[in-house]
């Protein structure tokens, strides 16, 4: 399930909804990404998150489909916020329920790595000295690429 929304999400409520879909799955792993208060260039007051509606939901669903082809997931849930978010606020929720913990950790890790490099979201960082668009990081590309054995990782 994919949701892109402006409002915040309640992790407890999302966990319960995941469990309702997950039956008696033995393992749940979830990841929450938050707005870091410290960026590469200093203090971050807020992030502005832009997305491409339509393509964004489609890409996220296709990442979930790919995750399900790799690991037997009983339930998968992705929530991503857009708009202006203050430092410390939640940005993204990725949750996976599987039979055992190893694949739950792997599937959740795969999903957030792919989301960061393949879903059309863009962050603009607001600090004391103004705002700037963030550049896509080489580390994120490496993290996403390592899941593909034949990938050329530069």
């Amino acid at each position: 399930m994919v949701v892109v929304q402006q409002g915040d999400f309640d992790v407890g409520q999302q966990y319960r909804r995941l469990c309702e879909q997950a039956g008696e799955a033995g393992a749940v792993v979830f990841f929450v990404g938050r707005v870091r208060g410290q960026g590469a260039d200093g203090v971050v007051r807020a992030l502005e998150l832009e997305h491409y509606p339509g393509l964004c939901e489609r890409q996220l669903q296709s990442l979930i489909d790919e995750t399900r082809r790799r690991w037997a997931c009983q339930a998968v849930r992705v929530i991503h916020r857009v708009g202006r978010l203050a430092a410390g606020e939640q940005i993204v929720f990725v949750a996976v329920a599987t039979g055992h913990r190893a694949e739950a950790f792997q599937a959740a890790h795969f999903l957030i790595d792919q989301l960061k490099t393949r879903a059309p979201f863009w962050k603009k960082e607001h600090g004391p000295d103004g705002a700037r668009w963030l550049d896509a990081g080489a580390n994120d590309a490496r993290a996403a690429g390592r899941w593909y054995a034949d990938a050329v990782v530069l």
Partner: protein, 85 residues
């Protein structure tokens, strides 16, 4: 017409959310993502530096590449590498 949309840093650099490009049957040769990009930079020379090779592209909300063909009614989007999560 083809609707061309721009996002994030690119949208601000071009000061343009979207524009419509004529793509009727009389347009020759047929448009692709690459030829559309060429046409935009001929029409708006100051965009050339922004519409460079690192951009990503989608056609009708599917990821696309330079040689993806275009037809009347398509939606094309150009955007920088993504930074979500």
């Amino acid at each position: 017409m083809i609707r061309v949309r721009f996002f994030a840093r690119l949208r601000e650099a071009l000061d343009c959310d979207y524009l419509d490009v004529d793509a009727g049957a009389r347009v020759s040769p047929p448009l692709s993502v690459a030829t559309l990009r060429g046409r935009l930079t001929r029409q708006y020379p100051h965009w050339a530096g922004h519409l460079d090779g690192r951009l990503l592209c989608a056609v009708n909300q599917h990821m696309a590449c330079s040689d993806t063909p275009l037809a009347d009614g398509d939606e094309v989007a150009f955007f920088p590498p993504v930074t979500g999560g």
